[in-house]
């Protein structure tokens, strides 16, 4: 499976997960950075980076930011900076959630990475790691 196909699958897994966290797709605002965004809107830039998925309920009481990382992506410095920026952004909001979608083989590393990156935060957002089938781990 090519990198981009895998990345698209991971983004789709995050969008499918939103149903559990925010409610049915027809009722929430979803912006995704895919070649064909679900509602034609790309996510806003948060602390300098554009996430793969940005979603809120309406009226906004909860913000969910989702980021998809392939095995190669997960270890880059840019990815770590990006995830840190999203976690910092979300930490200022109540009830916020960060979803990291990674291939099944990277689940342990994904969990460890998020634990490392949220260790020093006083008010970390809720975090969740899912695989490309949308199954939750950790």
């Amino acid at each position: 499976m090519s990198e981009s196909v895998q990345h698209t699958r991971l983004v789709q897994a995050i969008i499918a997960q939103l149903d559990t966290d925010l409610g049915p797709l027809c009722d929430i605002m979803v912006c995704d950075d895919s070649p064909n965004p679900l509602r034609g809107e790309r996510p806003p830039k948060l602390s300098g980076f554009i996430p793969d998925v940005y979603a809120t309920d309406v009226p906004t009481t909860r913000v969910v930011v989702g980021e998809a990382k392939t095995e190669q992506d997960l270890e880059t410095t840019r990815s770590h900076l990006q995830i840190t920026a999203f976690l910092t952004y979300l930490s200022a909001m109540r009830n916020s959630l960060f979803i990291l979608a990674v291939p099944f083989c990277c689940i342990p590393r994904g969990n460890n990475l998020l634990q490392e990156l949220t260790r020093t935060s006083d008010t970390p957002p809720l975090i969740r790691v899912i695989d490309d089938f949308g199954l939750e781990h950790g």
């Binding site: 027809c26 929430i28 912006c31 996510p43 554009i50 952004y89 200022a92």
Partner: protein, 336 residues
């Protein structure tokens, strides 16, 4: 002089689009000979794409989505039945073109007949009067606060799904969400602040719409301020003009600017913000050259850069462009 017509459902394939329609004439003039229906259709779409995003007039795509969701149109189109029996659309060409397109592409729904108001043998003056009233005067758009209140009621009281509201409005989901969130914040924080003197001003709505942009609430939170503080600043006129809300993250993080802001407001505080000095050579460049250069630069801006600016409305570049826009508007107004 007002003219009356008969209201009927008319088969769309009997209607001719108006080639003299001012909206599309400029595009049709590019074609040699008689334009085909497809060229007229393209011109109608192209003509509409020029409208700005903030416009209250629906763009081609918005109108298209809204008609599909609603299953038809609300306002009948206006037709002129000419002496040879031809039905020419003098108002509502885009709607007729969309019905024809839906019919041709087999879009779900009944697109064979369109509600129309038919006049017979209208004189040119009457045709001009209808076009002018429809496009230069137009229906009075709702003010943003009233729009937001209505959207909030649809969502909160009638429990209408967001996707359906967006489709009916033909707008973007983020705009609808911003309107609803801004309305709630305004009612929750601004109304209590102004209760005493009954000075609730719906025109301050745009300040609360700006508040929904990424980073503004976060900046308030990080600097120990609340949304009630924000509402008080709006009430006291410290955030005037209301687009200065987007300066708040920079003002609140700058000790000196923050002190000035709390005393005198955002415009005065802006002067205390560190602004990058323009290149010395650029400062010596004549105004017309600078204007040409900015124009060319904007015209050639890569799409990626445009998207990036759009997703970060608080960036230094966007702020610099807004500054230029404000200065230019003031300058040109003074020039007369």
């Amino acid at each position: 002089m007002a003219v009356s017509g008969a209201s009927q459902m008319i088969p769309v394939d009997t209607i001719e689009l108006d080639r003299a329609n001012p909206r599309i004439r400029k595009f049709l003039e590019m074609y040699v000979g008689e334009p085909t229906p497809e060229q007229i259709f393209l011109a109608l779409g192209a003509g509409n794409e020029e409208e700005s995003e903030g416009s209250s007039i629906p763009t081609f795509q918005k109108l298209k989505q809204s008609i599909i969701t609603h299953g038809g149109i609300i306002h009948p189109v206006i037709l002129n039945c000419q002496s040879d029996g031809t039905l020419v659309c003098i108002e509502g060409n885009t709607r007729v073109a969309l019905y024809k397109d839906f019919l041709q592409r087999g879009v779900n729904g009944d697109w064979s007949n369109i509600p129309a108001l038919i006049h017979s043998n209208l004189e040119d003056t009457a045709v001009h009067a209808i076009r002018l009233q429809a496009h230069l005067v137009g229906p009075r758009p709702w003010d943003p606060y009233s729009k937001a209140k209505y959207l909030h009621e649809l969502r909160h009281i009638d429990d209408m799904p967001l996707a359906m509201i967006v489709d009916f409005c033909g707008g973007r989901q983020s705009e609808v969400t911003t309107f609803i969130d801004a309305f709630i914040d305004m009612e929750q924080y601004y109304r209590p602040v102004v209760t005493e003197d009954g000075a609730f001003d719906p025109k301050r709505f745009s300040g609360f719409a700006e508040l929904q942009k990424p980073g503004i609430k976060k900046a308030l939170n990080e600097t120990g301020h609340t949304l009630t503080d924000f509402a008080t600043w709006v009430h006291e006129g410290k955030l005037r003009p209301l687009n200065t809300v987007r300066l708040l993250p920079r003002i609140l993080k700058n000790e000196k600017a923050r002190t000035i802001f709390l005393k005198k407001g955002a415009r005065a505080a802006e002067m205390a913000l560190d602004k990058p000095e323009a290149d010395l050579n650029l400062q010596k460049t004549p105004l017309d050259q600078l204007a040409y250069a900015l124009n060319s630069k904007l015209a050639a801006l890569p799409y990626e850069d445009y998207q990036s600016l759009r997703s970060d409305p608080c960036s230094a570049t966007v702020e610099a462009l807004i500054d230029v826009q404000n200065s230019l508007t003031e300058f040109l107004n003074n020039l007369g």
